[in-house]
C-alpha cells in the first residue's frame, strides 16, 4: 500500500541485540556430549519414571531433581508427529519445503522436535524410523544433530 507521508512517515528499522545466551549446567552437559562424543544424553525421573530429552534440572510434574540422573539414549527413533513447512522465513535451517517432526528417540519418553531431511517431503509419515546425522562443525545447539534421515 502506498503510504501518504502526510500521515505516516516511516523509517526502516531492525531490532538486533548481540546476546550471550547461557545454557546452564544441565543443558551444557547435554550439548557438549552431543558435540564432542556424538552421544545423546537424557535425564531420568525416579518418581515419574520418565526419560527426558532435552534434559532439565527439575521435573515439572513431580518437582524432583533430575540433573544427577543421566542416561544415554539411542540416536535412532520414531516420528510421532510432523508438519511440512512450506513458507519461507530467514531463520529457517533448511529451504522449504522441509519437515519439522516430533521424534521419540529409542530409550526416551519425550519426543524431541527436530528436522527430517528427505528427497520428497511426501515420504515422511508417522511411525517412520529415523536416525540422527551429526553436524560436521560445532554449532553448540540442538543442531549438533544436523537433522534426521530415514533409518
Amino acid at each position: 500500500m502506498a503510504h501518504d507521508n502526510k500521515y505516516a512517515y516511516t523509517i526502516e528499522g531492525k531490532m538486533a541485540l548481540p546476546y550471550q545466551y547461557f545454557a546452564g549446567a544441565t543443558s551444557s552437559k547435554f550439548i557438549v556430549a552431543l558435540r564432542d562424543e556424538k552421544k545423546i544424553l537424557a535425564v531420568q525421573g525416579k518418581q515419574s519414571g520418565l526419560t527426558y530429552v532435552p534434559p532439565r534440572q527439575v521435573c515439572d510434574r513431580t518437582f524432583e531433581h533430575l540433573e544427577d540422573n543421566w542416561v544415554e539414549v539411542k540416536d535412532t527413533g520414531v516420528v510421532t508427529n510432523f508438519t511440512v513447512i512450506r513458507y519461507e522465513e530467514p531463520y529457517q535451517p533448511m529451504k522449504p519445503p522441509f519437515v519439522i517432526a516430533l521424534i521419540k528417540l529409542d530409550g526416551a519418553d519425550t519426543p524431541i522436535a527436530h528436522l527430517v531431511s528427505c528427497d520428497d517431503v511426501g515420504d515422511v509419515a508417522i511411525g517412520m524410523r529415523v536416525k540422527a546425522v551429526f553436524a560436521e562443525e560445532a554449532v553448540n545447539t540442538i543442531l549438533e544433530i544436523q537433522h534426521f534421515v530415514a533409518e
Binding site: 505516516a8 524431541i112 522436535a113
Partner: protein, 380 residues
C-alpha cells in the same frame, strides 16, 4: 468470587490488515477516548484510578512497549501495569486489582499491530528457546501444524470440515462491522488454498491484523453508577501447559480443561453444553475452533469432528463475531472474544445478536499451540 466486578464499557477499533495511517498510540487513544466518554470519567481519584495495558515488545519493536502509551491511558501520575500476553489475561489482572480492593475503576487498553514487523512468524519464532527449539525454525505456525495433525487424527476432523469453519467465520464476519476478513469464501476456495504447515492451509490461518481494544471495569458499587447495562465477570480461570511441544498432549486440552474447570466452578456452570448462550473462541487456526470446543466442554474429548458435522458451532452460538479467524491480532484475540461477549450480553451485537443471551464464555490463548489458556465467564 466474593465481590462482583463488571465490564461497564467496551470499544474496539476496526480490525484491518494494515492500519498504516495510525500509530499504536493513536489506535489506543481511539478506543480509550470512546470508553471514557461512555462512562463519563476522567483520570484520577474517584475517576479512572488505574490502567492495565496489554502489548508486546516485539510487535512494537521497542522494549517496555507500554511506556509508549502511558499518556493516552492516563498513567502519568498514577498506576499502570502491563500484561504481555493475550488480553484475556489482562482482564484477569484488572479484575484482580478491583477484587483486591486497590481500585474501584480500572481502564484496560490493549493494542497490537502485526503489520509493522517483516512478518508475524519472525516475532513468534522468538518465543522459542535458543538452544533446543529456535534452531530448528519453530514459530507459532509450525507449532500449530504439529498440533493440527495430532488433533485432527484424534478427533476425526477433516479438511472439508476445516474449510466449512472458515466459510462460516466469513459469513458471520460479514455481519460484524469491525471484522477484518469479511469476504465470502467457498469450501472449494479454502480447500484449494495452498498448504503452509501441513495440514494447515493458508485459508485456515487468521489474517495478519492490526487493532486495539479498551474496556472499563468497575466494582459492583461503581458499576451501577457508571452504566445501565453492566456485564458481570462471574468466572475466571487460567492454566499453563509445559513448554516443549513433544511433552504435551498436543491433541488434547490439558491447560484449557483446567482453565475452564476453574472458571466454571467460580461461575457455577455445571453443564457447559446447556448453560452457555454465547461462546467466543480465539481460533487462530480453523482446527482450534473444534479443539477449543472440546476443552470448553461443548462436546466430549475426541468428539470435535462429530461436533462440527452436527452443526455444533451454530447450535451453541460459537463465534458469531467471526472469531479470531476473521482477523484480530495476537494479544487481542482473546480480548476481542471478551468484547464480543459483552456486546452480546448488552444486546448490542446488531445482526449477529443472540436473542436473550444471559451467559457467555470467552477463551483466549498465549504461546505456541495454545500453551497458556484463559477462560472468562460473563453474565448480564
Amino acid at each position: 468470587m466474593g465481590k462482583r466486578v463488571a465490564i461497564c464499557a467496551v470499544a474496539q477499533t476496526k480490525y484491518e490488515s494494515n492500519k498504516w495511517q495510525q500509530r499504536m498510540q493513536g489506535l489506543v487513544w481511539e478506543v480509550v477516548k470512546d470508553v471514557k466518554e461512555q462512562v463519563g470519567l476522567g483520570f484520577g481519584p474517584r475517576e479512572i484510578e488505574s490502567s492495565v495495558t496489554c502489548s508486546d515488545d516485539l510487535f512494537d519493536a521497542r522494549t517496555i512497549s507500554d511506556n509508549a502509551i502511558t499518556d493516552v491511558v492516563g498513567a502519568h501520575f498514577q498506576g499502570e501495569e502491563k500484561v504481555a500476553a493475550d488480553g484475556s489475561q489482562a482482564v484477569y489482572y484488572a479484575v484482580s486489582q478491583i477484587l483486591s480492593g486497590h481500585h474501584d475503576v480500572v481502564l484496560l487498553a490493549g493494542h497490537c499491530k502485526e503489520s509493522q514487523g517483516a512478518s508475524r512468524n519472525q516475532v513468534t519464532h522468538l518465543a522459542f528457546d535458543p538452544f533446543f527449539t529456535r534452531p530448528i525454525g519453530l514459530d507459532y505456525l509450525a507449532a500449530a501444524g504439529l498440533q493440527a495433525r495430532a488433533y485432527m487424527a484424534a478427533s476425526g476432523v477433516t479438511d472439508e470440515q476445516l474449510a466449512d469453519v472458515v466459510v462460516r467465520s466469513r459469513q458471520w464476519a460479514a455481519k460484524n462491522p469491525l471484522a477484518n476478513a469479511q469476504d465470502a469464501v467457498t469450501r472449494e476456495d479454502v480447500m484449494a488454498s495452498p498448504m503452509v504447515a501441513d495440514p494447515i492451509r493458508e485459508g485456515h490461518v487468521y489474517p495478519v491484523s492490526d487493532g486495539a481494544i479498551a474496556m472499563i471495569l468497575a466494582s459492583e458499587e461503581r458499576a451501577q453508577e457508571l452504566c445501565d447495562n453492566p456485564v458481570w465477570i462471574t468466572g475466571l480461570g487460567n492454566c499453563y501447559d509445559t513448554f516443549y511441544l513433544g511433552e504435551r498432549e498436543l491433541e488434547g486440552n490439558f491447560s484449557l480443561s483446567k482453565a475452564a474447570e476453574r472458571a466454571y466452578k467460580m461461575a457455577g456452570v455445571t453443564d457447559p453444553k446447556a448453560e452457555l448462550d454465547v461462546v467466543e473462541i480465539a481460533d487462530q487456526y480453523a482446527y482450534q475452533q473444534a479443539q477449543v470446543a472440546e476443552g470448553l466442554g461443548l462436546c466430549g474429548a475426541g468428539e470435535g469432528g462429530a461436533w462440527l458435522e452436527a452443526g455444533g458451532p451454530d447450535a451453541q452460538n460459537v463465534n458469531r463475531s467471526g472469531g479470531m479467524l476473521a482477523g484480530n491480532p495476537l494479544l487481542m484475540g482473546g480480548l476481542a472474544r471478551v468484547a464480543e461477549c459483552v456486546l452480546q450480553l448488552q444486546g448490542e451485537a446488531g445482526d449477529r445478536q443472540v436473542a436473550g443471551a444471559k451467559r457467555a464464555v470467552a477463551q483466549g490463548s498465549t504461546g505456541p499451540a495454545g500453551q497458556l489458556q484463559t477462560v472468562v465467564v460473563l453474565e448480564n
